[in-house]
Symmetry: C2
Subunit: 208 residues, 2 copies
């Protein structure tokens, strides 16, 4: 059985974080491993409390998994602090972990900010260059680029500018645009708009 | 969808802890919620490192879940410290959470001790009286009763003595006995020996 590793926060409610990622991995026939970056007390309403782990503890989890199992792919979610972003980038590079998907989670959908500003630079400079694909939503693209991203044209330019930071591909998620959601994908050659009907999101909210 | 809550450690390798419990819940058609007590860096070989959370953070996770979702059952795994055992008992009682299953995890199967001795008294005096069923293995029964539990007769007496502490039922798991495993069940009326053929345990080792 192939192993996929999620590096993310724990969501007590189970709607997001490592709990949602492990369900997704299982649905695709993968054994899921996890490195927790922060523990949240969270439900469908709000993030009530949270505590971030020390970077060395996040790395210890990654090393425990990678030293014992053949990791076929890695996804990062909420990395909580700048030093954790840097430590994860170091561990992924040192272990040569393949197929890194970076979801640059910076806030819960409740609006509570979960990431300190220093982390944004670490994402751009350390983690993005290692990524197969990065998947920001509009608010995350704005935080990373420090400018508004509110239109389809702005999403396309954001995808190009984020791609220039080093990932093999970028998917800007337009779920919070007015009207039907549109995602924009760019891999350095093709620029594509991906459209899908809105689906029930009751079980997909949270910190990612 | 009914909600089951696991209160336990996180196992990065995915073979035990909340990760295994959430898989079991999902296999039974339940939505899984979780309250993490400790984060371990762990794989199929050993517990490399771990950090216990503060009791108030464990309670915050339980409250976030219980205030928002109708919890139909609760299972505790590795509770890490005596103060966490006490805090969990307080929260379960205050929230009147039903159908409490207590697996009194005290060590990883690797032999690494995960629980301080003070916690054993908290289990006996605070958590067991709230439990629908408690499910110690032989080593855990020995730690709780402070005497050897190595034979079928000793397991039967252990089940009776642990039942006297207040749980509605006790299941002493004989997985580490020589020969075919035998579990002993006691609910105050019936004493039953449950026999099953050994199964592959590759994905069931760890901290519970």
């Amino acid at each position: 059985m192939k192993v996929a590793l999620t590096i993310a926060g724990s969501d007590s409610g189970g709607g997001a974080g490592i709990q949602a990622d492990l369900r997704t991995f299982a649905a695709h026939g993968l054994h899921g491993a996890s490195a927790i970056t922060a523990v949240t007390a969270q439900n469908t309403v709000a993030v009530v409390d949270y505590v971030a782990l020390e970077p060395r503890m996040v790395v210890a989890q990654i090393d425990a998994v990678a030293s014992d199992m053949p990791v076929a792919a890695v996804k990062t979610g909420m990395l909580a602090t700048g030093p954790i972003v840097e430590a994860v980038a170091e561990a992924v590079a040192r272990r040569r972990l393949p197929h890194l998907v970076v979801d640059p989670v910076m806030a819960a959908k409740s609006g509570d900010r979960l990431l300190d500003p220093v982390a944004e630079a670490a994402y751009r400079e350390r983690l993005f260059p290692l990524a197969e694909v990065v998947t920001p939503n509009l608010a995350e693209a704005e935080a990373l680029l420090r400018r508004p991203v509110r239109t389809l044209d702005a999403m396309a330019q954001a995808a190009r500018d984020l791609h220039a930071l080093g990932p093999r591909a970028v998917l800007v998620k337009g779920g919070h645009l007015e009207g039907d959601p549109v995602d924009v994908f760019f891999d350095g050659r093709r620029l594509e708009e991906l459209r899908a009907p809105r689906i029930d999101t009751r079980h997909t909210h949270g910190t990612g």
